[in-house]
Symmetry: C2
Subunit: 253 residues, 2 copies
DNA sequence: AAGTGGTCTAGACCACTTT
DNA sequence: AAGTGGTCTAGACCACTTT
């Protein structure tokens, strides 16, 4: 019987969950193979079925394993690499890919938003926003042209930052104390016009990915509306999605 | 005591969960207000604590409510659209959007895969796959051109289906008993060449979205590799992402 | 027949919040 | 003190898969 602490502040199910997680992270249990069954956990640790289930359930919720009735629970493909899975800043994404992010500021000023961004930010076109236009680079190569709008009332005094080196998300989260929660992104295919071609240093007519995003704080307030244009040869967009039991979904109606 | 069916094929906890969901959707319980406590559910429906908990837990997982110890469970701010990312078939997606999905089969045969799809499916170019090419329509308008490859050994006898009306995912899940788990999709911008233009009935040079996906079973076996080309004016590609608390991740180590 | 996960019961003690 | 959710036990019957 493997040891767990019954007196720990850490619940038993979490201790077991973490133990299995370690085995997966270390490679002791590989992708696709079975983890302990609920019965095995009950015997190994002398715990009840509920506790055993809860340990596995936590791994399922975290996307680490999948349960299959009658068969067991199996280690899922690790979900690390994804570009759109988690709300990340450009700098964070480039750093994760092992490259060095830099920026060139084309334009940064306080102005009134157009209808599109005012609508995204749930403010009026008479309100004030900061508009920041940047070319983003990875290891010195231009790979994206970003335009972002932030409401002035949520980040007053934003003009003091130098976004050639400062991170916008760092400022929002650490300096203004906002809690970023989620983002909705729409992906649209475009071709480079003359302006974009010049900014990114590419020929016109090249197919590009344009994203339009709105980021929200935990309370639901829009904090940022942006339009980014990516050179897709240099920036891979990937999405990981999970299957939910479609029967459940249909019955809900 | 409100009525639930003890003999339904639908689990009790899901019946209760859906009942609460309806109250939230209809506005009877508004954002920020408390839903039934676990004790109340136990009394209202005469169920055990576990079943009551599981009903609330399902709502928490779906992002509908948040639990707060000592206080109760409260309705969350609705997340723009349908919450997270689900692996859906084309038909399922179109149905959700309130339109009628149809298909035109261009090509369906048993053949050897090229290197790209063989690699995606983790099989050899000497193995056999079914290749299915379809134009997918919503309310009669062509909006996507899909090419999908399925290993023959995982779905032997697939040729008996008529995929002008049958759903590939239905066949995979219900008839072959496979458990679809997750999918990885890469998004690429392209422009319509003559072949695509003809198939989709659009002018050449129009910007389009191409997706390359591989779907996996719960055990990690690739079940499907596909390339889809979408008319993006008719098909909005949106992604919702959540911000991770980087601090939490660090504590786990 | 034996093993797997899915659902459910009826209890218990605990930490936290409100009354 | 009473109510909330968090964790845990020890049992049960079920559907599904493998032996």
């Amino acid at each position: 019987m493997i040891q767990i602490s019954r007196s720990s502040y850490k619940p038993i199910y979490l201790q077991i969950c973490d133990l299995i997680r370690e085995k997966i992270d270390s490679g002791e249990i590989s992708v696709g193979s079975r983890v302990w069954s609920e019965n095995e956990i009950m015997e190994n640790f002398n715990v009840s079925r509920n506790t055993a289930r809860k340990a596995i359930e936590t791994l399922v919720i975290d996307g680490i394993v999948s349960r299959v009735q009658g068969k067991g629970s199996f280690v899922s493909q690790p979900k690390v690499e994804s570009g759109l899975q988690y709300l990340k800043s450009f700098s964070e994404e480039i750093l994760v890919k092992g490259m060095k992010p830099t920026s060139r500021v084309l334009n940064f000023k306080r102005e009134h938003p157009d209808f599109f961004h005012a609508n995204n930010l749930k403010i009026s076109v008479d309100d004030w926003v900061y508009k920041l236009e940047r070319v983003r680079m990875a290891d010195g190569d231009s790979i994206a042209y970003q335009t972002v709008f932030v409401p002035e009332n949520l980040c007053p005094g934003l003009e003091k930052y130098d976004f050639a080196k400062d991170s916008l998300y760092d400022a929002i989260e650490k300096d203004y104390g906002h809690v970023l929660s989620w983002q909705k992104t729409t992906v649209i295919p475009i071709v480079a016009d003359e302006k974009i071609a010049k900014v990114l240093g590419i020929p016109v007519e090249i197919p590009l990915l344009q994203t339009e995003s709105v980021s929200y704080l935990a309370g639901g307030t829009p904090i940022e509306s942006n339009v980014n244009i990516y050179l897709s040869e240099r920036y891979e967009f990937t999405v990981l999605s999970n299957r939910h039991n479609p029967a459940e979904r249909i019955e809900e109606e």
